[in-house]
Symmetry: C2
Subunit: 292 residues, 2 copies
């Protein structure tokens, strides 16, 4: 069992990945002129592993391609990325009980150069079971943008999964200062958006509700998967402009993402919220069943 593994991609003159090689992840791989490191100029996907196998890889590549288009990065042959994803995951040789994830990054490359930089980094990780059992205390924080910003100002890249995450990390520090674990961003015109690294899902009776994907949020791969499962299991599913009042009134709520899966919200701005442990367990079981 290896704690981590790394594949570095090679590219053709059009910037499309042509192959990759496994290298030691502890060794430096990036120069200081790399635009990932100096400008956050790239996009990424993080894929959860279950028993060593990627969960819903196809959904991640679909979204990766969308981010690539939004940043005018070169189109990719995703079969090569998928091969690398599976190879670095397998290289971890995880115990069935161990968790892990793979982060794939495509950046604009070295400043002044003509080809992108790309890598897939796999690592074993601490168990995420406790957060699903204990739940999250969230705070609502203004994201500063109107809910329709992706339509009116697409250059702001809302809806692309870029590596320019300084604000997301700052929001987590603000949550910690408020004695909370996570954040739900709110638009400047009062709608619930998403977490810094997760999608918001509410349950009201037998309806699962999430933010409309045109509201300047990242389309959630985990949310989409859970909604497809839920629709086949007796639930209605809706995409809406949700408000803080909707969250307060919901029977249960989660922040869903690829590594932590469906993490129940147990408090909003200090007000306790019931946790739906049974549905959380069903979500986990379904997502685990997708690994392959």
């Amino acid at each position: 069992m290896s704690a981590s593994a790394l594949a570095l991609f090679t590219f053709d003159s059009a910037g499309s990945a042509t192959g990759y090689r496994l290298v030691d992840p502890a060794q430096p791989a990036l120069t200081v002129t790399e635009l990932a490191a100096t400008r956050g100029d790239g996009v990424f996907e993080t894929v959860g592993l279950h028993e060593g196998h990627p969960i819903k890889a196809a959904r991640h590549f679909e979204r990766f391609a969308q981010s690539v288009r939004m940043l005018d990065l070169p189109a990719q042959d995703w079969t090569i990325w998928d091969a690398a994803l599976h190879e670095v995951a397998a290289a971890l040789d995880l115990d069935p009980s161990s968790e892990g994830w793979v982060k794939m990054v495509l950046s604009r490359g070295i400043e002044g150069g003509t080809t992108p930089t790309g890598w897939a980094y796999a690592t074993a990780s601490a168990s995420t079971a406790s957060v699903r059992a204990d739940g999250l205390r969230v705070v609502l924080l203004d994201r500063g943008y109107r809910h329709d910003i992706a339509q009116t100002a697409p250059w702001l890249l809302q809806g692309a999964k870029t590596i320019s995450y300084a604000v997301n990390r700052s929001a987590y520090r603000e949550a910690a200062r408020r004695d909370a674990d996570d954040v739900v961003f709110v638009s400047s015109d009062g709608y619930l958006l998403e977490g810094p690294t997760s999608t918001l899902v509410l349950r009201t009776g037998m309806t699962l509700r999430t933010t409309r994907t045109d509201a300047g949020i990242l389309a959630g791969t985990t949310q989409a998967e859970l909604f497809e499962w839920a629709a086949g299991n007796g639930y209605e599913t809706t995409y809406e402009l949700l408000t803080p009042a909707d969250l307060a009134a919901a029977d249960a709520a989660w922040l869903v993402s690829s590594v932590r899966l469906a993490a129940p919200i147990r408090a909003v701005d200090g007000t306790p919220k019931p946790v739906d442990a049974a549905l959380t367990a069903s979500f986990t079981a379904h997502l685990h069943s997708l690994a392959g």
Copy 2:
């Protein structure tokens, strides 16, 4: 003469730089777990060089320290950074006529680690004289935030110089699509803000005007220096909430920054604007005189 030079910092357990070593900038220095490269989680300053010497270094360190505070990064002993700045600049051994710059970055370091990563990278660069002579065609683009966002939502880090610059780079691509060279961001409530990597300066008669630094912009080191010089040379200087109408009515306008210096705006959204070549030349001469 060397095309580039790189200093990598060492840090104590509190995260303050204790020293640095010069290394080959062409060799990889960063791992793929570096938070600069995966989260854009760091801050930077770019210092212009004239005849090989840094311009207004003290102003850069003052702003660097402000960015460090806003991102809750470890406080630094700037005398060590200043020594590295001058050493990598000197290592370029630039011809007096050659231009260059030094980028200094402080990131949160390797994910899961306890110390930051820091470097100072110096490089020779192409001449910037032509942009000062020819001027810039700019477009106005919505930044999506109200002008008071830094006060109401400080976690959005407006006013910190972070390396999460994907949106700034995207804005430049949007400008190019509109057959322009640069951008002036506008707040969602209609005020002129700044360029993606520059500060806006207007001249109306004998008054130099710029955006209020509390309007969610980065306080400009070049603008501050020029205003100090202007105040001693017969100009009034004001910090205001400026509008597109103010830009249209101004006698002249510039986007000022540390490498390009004061670049005159010669068109706004396709409408020509007069260029003040004489004052541009005075600005350049003053900024060059500060190198040391």
